[in-house]
């Protein structure tokens, strides 16, 4: 049994330490994914919190044979975000907040520059097709492998690779067009 499988198995049996380990491992990447989808820090925080609460409630029903744990977790995040955007009437749109808060006590000029870069990043990502945006967010934002992205989205790995390649090519064109 792999280490991750072991941790997940223990978490399913109600082991708090194991769930905490999964939380530490996946929290930031889920947050980034949600953030890229909603474009707002407060909303991203609320939704990320809901994703983990839902995961904790539902982990007893998780079966390893269906998909890797990370794909299952991202599916919860994906569904939660879609529900949320649907309620807001914002499916397919990403609204950028005026002021993105970056974490860290770095030089204000550097932080401001980073902030602009992230705004540009989200602005460009939202111009991609929905499928490309989903793949780029999961692959780059959340660091999932192609196989994991394929499982999370229910797509073929070859399709994911094509979406990834075309997505990056489109982002490059957008970046060059911005300058």
């Amino acid at each position: 049994m792999s280490i991750e499988k072991d941790v997940v198995s223990r978490a399913i049996k109600g082991n708090g330490g194991a769930f905490a380990q999964l939380y530490e491992e996946h929290f930031d990447r889920i947050y980034r994914y949600v953030y890229l989808k909603v474009g707002n820090q407060t909303e991203a925080e609320d939704l990320t919190q809901e994703v983990f609460v839902k995961a904790l409630e539902a982990i007893g029903s998780y079966k390893w044979r269906n998909s890797p744990f990370v794909a299952w977790l991202f599916r919860i995040a994906h569904n939660r975000v879609i529900d949320y955007l649907r309620k807001q009437g914002r499916v397919g749109k990403v609204v950028l907040e005026d002021d993105i808060t970056l974490v860290g006590g770095l030089d204000p000029a550097f932080m401001a520059e980073r902030q602009l870069e992230i705004e540009e990043l989200i602005s460009n990502v939202k111009k991609l097709s929905p499928a490309q945006r989903e793949v780029i967010s999961l692959r780059f934002g959340s660091g999932l492998s192609v196989a994991e992205v394929a499982k999370a989205l229910g797509k073929n790995p070859a399709t994911v690779k094509a979406l990834q390649y075309n997505g990056i090519a489109a982002l490059r064109r957008l970046m060059l067009g911005d300058r």
Binding site: F19, A20, G104, K161, Q164, Y165, I168
Partner: protein, 278 residues
């Protein structure tokens, strides 16, 4: 050819994710290098930008703490399930409850219907409820009763708040949780249920908790408000969770309970806020 460049690009990305440089990849695929280089450079820029998006540490800690509380509650629930020989104790309890019901008498029971927690007939009211739960025909009927009694407790909480009775409010929050806990048992039957009669665990008449004892009237309304807010959140979460998984027949009851329980908690909190004096 198109397929191949996509595979190569992905291989290179994987290497970059692992910390290798772009040049290594370009050397490995000299034919595709002119096409790959700009895309890999763009990827690198995006990786750096994406990595700058981080959750605030205080937010992360807050969620961690919330999950720990939930885990603790889950573990307690699991321990309870593991240790109570449910099907054995149920029959004993059912018999006791029936005898109790006969002894108490229907008249007294009717008179107790509107009793409040600080009144002498209140234990009779709870015993009557217990009898109804024990005699319920099906799991769904039992669940409906637990939802109904949770709503009652929330309603009584409002009256206790009006009378400034803090200890009773705290006991009632536990009773609400206790009833909602029983719905949870219904929606996810533990393995032991497969072996015995399909019934729920008995609902003991809750006694005042240590927490309630500790919470003397001298303590602030603010602290009580926090306890109530937490209890409201837990109760609504339990009801919504049940609603997600409940059979159709139970859904309207749960939907109504969500509204009623929330309203009663809000009223209680509002009274507490206005000084525990109304």
């Amino acid at each position: 050819m198109t397929r191949k460049i996509e595979d190569i690009f992905d291989n290179c990305l994987e290497s970059i994710f692992k910390g290798e440089g772009i040049d290594d990849c370009l050397k490995a695929y000299p034919e595709q290098a002119p096409e790959l280089e700009p895309l890999l450079k763009t990827s690198l820029v995006f990786m750096q930008r994406f990595s700058a998006i981080q959750p605030a540490p205080e937010f992360k800690a807050r969620v961690h703490s919330q999950l720990q509380t939930m885990l603790y509650a889950k573990q307690k629930k699991a321990e309870k399930r593991a240790w109570i020989p449910i099907w054995q104790s149920r029959w004993a309890l059912a018999m006791t409850a029936i005898l109790g019901f006969l002894l108490i008498g229907v008249g007294t029971l009717a008179a107790s219907a509107y009793a409040l927690p600080d009144e002498s007939l209140y234990p009779v009211k709870l015993a009557g409820e217990q009898v109804r739960v024990t005699l319920a025909f099906s799991d769904i009927d039992e669940a409906k009763l637990h939802v109904q009694f949770a709503e009652r407790r929330a309603g009584e909480m409002v009256e206790m708040a009006r009378q400034g009775k803090v200890d009773e409010i705290l006991v009632l929050t536990e009773q609400v949780a206790n009833h909602l806990d029983k719905i949870y048992v219904m929606e996810q039957p533990p393995e032991v249920e497969e072996k015995g009669p399909k019934m729920l665990a008995p609902t003991p008449i809750p006694a005042p908790s240590k927490g309630a004892e500790a919470y003397s009237k001298g303590r602030g309304a603010e602290e009580l408000e926090t306890v109530l807010s937490q209890s409201r959140a837990n109760s609504l979460a339990a009801l919504r969770n049940a609603l997600d998984k409940a059979p159709e027949e139970l859904k309207p009851v749960l939907q109504q309970a969500i509204e009623d329980v929330e309203e009663d908690y809000n009223k209680t909190i509002s009274i507490i806020k206005s000084g525990l004096s109304q």
